[in-house]
Structures are given as C-alpha cells and as structure tokens.
Symmetry: C3
Subunit: 268 residues, 3 copies
Amino acid sequence: MTASNANDIVLAEQHGPTCVLTLNRPDKRNALETATYILMNRYLDAALADPGVANIVLCGAGNFFCSGGDLLSLETRAALPVAERAALIQKLHDLVIRLKFSSKPVIAAIEGGAAGAGASLAFAADLIVAAEGSYISMAYVKAGLVPDGGGSAFLAHALPHQLAAEIALFGGRLPIERFAAAGVVNRIVPSGSALQTALELGQQLAEGARESQAAILSLLDGPDRESFERQLDAEKRLMAIALGSAEAAEGIAAFKEKRAPAFSRLAG
Amino acid sequence: MTASNANDIVLAEQHGPTCVLTLNRPDKRNALETATYILMNRYLDAALADPGVANIVLCGAGNFFCSGGDLLSLETRAALPVAERAALIQKLHDLVIRLKFSSKPVIAAIEGGAAGAGASLAFAADLIVAAEGSYISMAYVKAGLVPDGGGSAFLAHALPHQLAAEIALFGGRLPIERFAAAGVVNRIVPSGSALQTALELGQQLAEGARESQAAILSLLDGPDRESFERQLDAEKRLMAIALGSAEAAEGIAAFKEKRAPAFSRLAG
Amino acid sequence: MTASNANDIVLAEQHGPTCVLTLNRPDKRNALETATYILMNRYLDAALADPGVANIVLCGAGNFFCSGGDLLSLETRAALPVAERAALIQKLHDLVIRLKFSSKPVIAAIEGGAAGAGASLAFAADLIVAAEGSYISMAYVKAGLVPDGGGSAFLAHALPHQLAAEIALFGGRLPIERFAAAGVVNRIVPSGSALQTALELGQQLAEGARESQAAILSLLDGPDRESFERQLDAEKRLMAIALGSAEAAEGIAAFKEKRAPAFSRLAG
C-alpha cells in the first residue's frame, strides 16, 4: 500500500483486510478535482497489487460522501479547447473503469449525499452502503451539464428508462430508500455507521473465497463492459461540449452566486 | 405548431411550453388507426422543430389513455398479403421511434388504462404519470396477437424476464402500483389529474437546462437504440404473421361478439 | 411424452395440458448430476414435440426444489483435465438453453430452496412460483466455485449490479420476497402449494393463444440470446478452472466435514 498524509485530498488506509480510500476535502463536501482522480488511481493500483488487500471501501470525510466535480474549477474549463476538456474528463473515466472492473470487490459507504460525479463513483462500486437520510442525485443538469463517469450508462442499464430519465432530467435528490428498493443500494444503516458496515462487509468478503469473488466479478461485468466503455466516450464527448455552453455558464454562475439558475432566458 | 380541429382523431395544443397531443376518439377508448400514427407523426415533427415547444405530453380524451389498435380495423388485415400488413405496422413503428428517441422529453399522462399498442406508446415516453386505479396491459395475446410498437423490447430491457413474461403471456391488467414499484411509472396521482401533473412536470423541465436535457436523453437512449430498432423489426414480422392466424381470427371474433375466445379448440 | 419410472432421478408426468418434470432425489435435496441433465433434455425434447403439451412445470420431490450440483460428485472433477470438466458443464448448459429458449412456457415451482445450479435452473424459467419461506441462493462462492447454468447472465441482465453482486459474492439465502419485489418471482404461495399454483398457471396458459405465446417468448428472449450464450461459455471456462482450485478443494472438504470453510488461510 502507498501511504497517504492526513492533509492529502485522498487518504488511503488499511483496516484489516480492507483498503479504505477517503475523499478528504470536507470543507468542499469532498468535491472532485483532476488531482483526486490521479491520486485515487495511484492508490487503487497499489491496493489491487497488494495481496494483503482483499477489497476496497470508498468513503468521504466529514459525514459526506461526495458533492461531485468542483464547479469552481469546472468554470475555468469553458476557456479550454474541447479536446482539452475531454482529456480532463478522461482522468475521471480512467478511475471509473478501474473501480468498476476491479478484480477486488469495491464497497461505497455513503453518508450525507452523493451528487454528480460523486454518484457516478458510487454507482461504479459493487456494493453500496448508505446512511439513513442520505441521498443520491445526478445533479449535473442543474448546472447545465450532462452525466459523466459512467452515470448515464449505469442508469440506462440498471433501471427502467422512466426512472433513469427522472433521475437524470430533473437532477433531484431521490431518497436513498428508492435506490434500495430498486436494488442499487444494498444496506441502509443509521447515520454515521456506513463506514463501519462497509468494513464489516469487507471483513466478511475477506473471509470468503477471494479467487471465486474475482471470477464472479468478471462474469457480472463482462457482458456489459464494451457497451459501458462506449458510453463513457459518449458522455465525455457531450460533457466536453456542455462545459462550454451558455447553460453551463449560467448554471455555474448561479451556483457561485447562491441563486437559482435562470435557464429559461436562454431557451427558445 | 400545426393547428388541429376539435374533431380530429388527434389534437395538438400548446399549453405554455408544452405541446399536448391528445388521442381523440373517446367513444372507442382512443383506439389507434393508421391515420392516428400519420397524424401524430406530423404533429410531433412540428413540435420538435418549434423552439417554443420544450416538451411533449401524450394523453387521451374521455378519461382513458388508449385501448390499443382498433381490433375491428385489424380484422380486415388478415385479407392483406403479409408484406402489406407489415407496411401498416411500420407506421406505428415510425411513430414509436420518433417518440422514444425524441430530443425533447415526452411525458405520458394515463387515465383509465393503456392497453396493447397504447401500452407500447406509454412505454416509449420518458416519464409516465398515471391516475390511481388505472392499468397498463399488454393485451395482445388475448386477441391471438403479439406485441408491436416496441412493447416487447421495452419489457425485455426494463424488467426481469419473469415479470415481463407474466405481463406479455397473460395480457392481464397489472395494477399501476406494480409498474410504479418497478420504476416504469413515475407518479401516481388522483384520478382525473394525470394531465395536470404532466403539465407541471413539463413546466418544471421547461425551466431547466433544455440543451442538457436533450444531451441526457441521447445518452440514456443511445446504447440501446440499435437493439430497439432490431426488435421493432422482429415484432413487425411476427405481428404481420399473427394478424392472419386462426388464433387472431378467433380472438377478434370473440371481441366483436363480446365473449371469451375459445383458443383451446385450436390447440393440439 | 416419454414415460418415466418412479425411481428415476427425473420424473416426467402429464397433468392435463402440462408436462411436469420433477427432480427426484429427495434424500439429496434433488442435487444435480450429469445424468439429470441428460434425462431432462430427453424429456424436454419429447414435451416440446408433443402437441398435447402446452407448457412445462419444473419442480422437486420432497418439498425442496434443488440444492444444485452434487458437491460430492463435483469433488472428483478436480482430477479431470480442464477440457473434460468443461464438457460436463456443457451438459447443464445444453439443458439451460433448452429451458430458457423453449417455445412453450416453462414454470418453476419452488418449495424449500433453489441453490447454486438449482437457482440457475429456476432463473431459466419464464415464470416462478415460490412457497412462503423458500429461498434462492447463488451458493457457489461458498464452495469456492463460480456460477454456471446462466446464473451470472441472468443476474447481470435482470438486476442492478449491486443487488446481483450481493447475491453472487456472498452466496447467501435472500428471502423470496426480495426476488418477488424485483420481479424475478411471480407468485408467493403458502408452503406446499407451489406445484398446484404452477399447474393453475399452466392450465390458464393452455387455454390461451399458444401460437401467440410462442411468438411472445421468442420476442422476449431474442435480443438477449446471443449475449446469454456467450456468457454461458464464459461461465463454463471459469467454472472448469475453479473446480480444480485450492478454494474449491477447501469448500467441498468443509461441506463434507460439515464445518465452515477456512478460505482465509489460502489468501494473501
């Protein structure tokens, strides 16, 4: 395992047989930057190579999972050529592919909420434990953006179109119970105990047949892998364009000014 | 927007940012004819081209959504060559492709029931609002027919095989709550208020980021589009054959004579 | 219909329009052997060819559906070359393809439990009736094995990844209500009455339009068939390897010695 420092934006710590990766920008609700993806990829590679690591838990510091891409840093991307925007999105996609097709089980532990790319990261996990009162939202549309990180691929594959469309078109905070009923969230636990339950599941998996688990994950992911990767490319293309749109400029400005976006002035 | 007359079999009316298409044969529970498909396609093209239209609502006159293909007109098709039957089914499929892959959100507002091709039209919508006590049924099998309009593609994609098979093999009226639990129906509302709720959702979407919504719809529909269109062709082929079968003759005769069909005499 | 003898490991009996295939090794909870697959294939071929058979019910003797592959006979496979192990798995896969793509509806009637390959057989049915208190478990991982018989294909297609992963990675006994909520189980009935309810559904289907039913099944199965068969091959490959693994040796030894397997000694 690669060691991490307490001030890093991602922490990697070993808890028994489980590698815990903690998104660690609690003052920003663990908003994601390109540096986050690069660092997580490095820790994940180390965890996957380490025979002492049976599985991986993904969580966030400060009782919140992840608010998604940092809108303030996204704002600056409008000035970049589309291809450079796409190259930055690819860093997220490299991470999502590693998580989703990991040969070791990945467990997301959600406190508070998982929004935007934070939701896409959670969807890439094999198991999701979520705290009572937490939410998952595909909030992209509220900032004039489109899902990336495989979020649209996951919704289109896992859920009937109407539920997927509601989640993605409105970007609202669906109660976690709706995701549990659908089979996307495995456990709802008391607030504050998501990480503990995730570690218990990790311990239970670690005591099981690990080679079987790796083969099972390859069987469950295999048939869909090619389609998933194609969809990541479609997301990248549309998100790179959206980042330069008038809608995104308005959505991000409204976020900064803490007001509701006035998209309808742009329509028609 | 193209204007419509109050006696047309389809009405197109603008309500704020939303184009409302109303199936308008209330004495026949809005049964579908080839002319319905052609007229709806024309209105849809106009609505998609009109920048003043943010989204589309699909509903039925007389507190009923749609009873499906008009069995009395289907009866005459047995006399046609199979290729001509298929050409008529293609008119429905042209409409379904326009609805399902529309760049503007489509909302179905169901009062009463959606049966046969009426169910397939509802499934092609991005969001479904349904009144308490309404139902969705794939009633084709009761007339010795097979699903068309993408109904089988939708069921096979959205639901586990056993639930899809129950719906399609028995053709019964599943309570709308079952579809809501599965994620196919987004809202169940008091009887008589489905259109109003659909218009509220339309208003909410219209105030959102419309370019994002179009991109999101293309992402959600994209991976499945080719397979969906292949399935429409398979439905067309099997439905064109079924329309000339002894089972369909018995099923349609029983419908006209208001008696239960006696399929078992045809078996073995 | 081919006649069967009361001592055969599979019984084939006609009940009205329905052919009932009964797994008949009640002292072994109807554990499956290669001979079971060969015999079932023979009975199925006869039932599919017989115009007097409208549909097929699959059940188990002794108030239990099926405990899966006979672990004691699987133990001897480690000594075989991988290609010979794969050839034996192919016998199961021949049966699953016949069941899943049968032109006549197949109904599974579950009492007690369906585990391992028993669960995969149930998933291959078009409709599932299950008794209160029964369970479905993909128990393979507990013996250091991986799903075969299409179990992983079914889970990956029918359910969101997180629910599928929980079922396959832990191998636990999910309550039957969870499968009913997801749409995998059609009816939960009082203990002891699963077969009777399955026969009632068979009778109802037999009175319906059988040609329509065959066409509907081909539409529901068609789009997924190629991917399903590819997945069977992937399962066969990984299961053939797993049968010779240290994990399987430990898992099967533990089963024989009625103790918990100690997989963690093998890890790291």
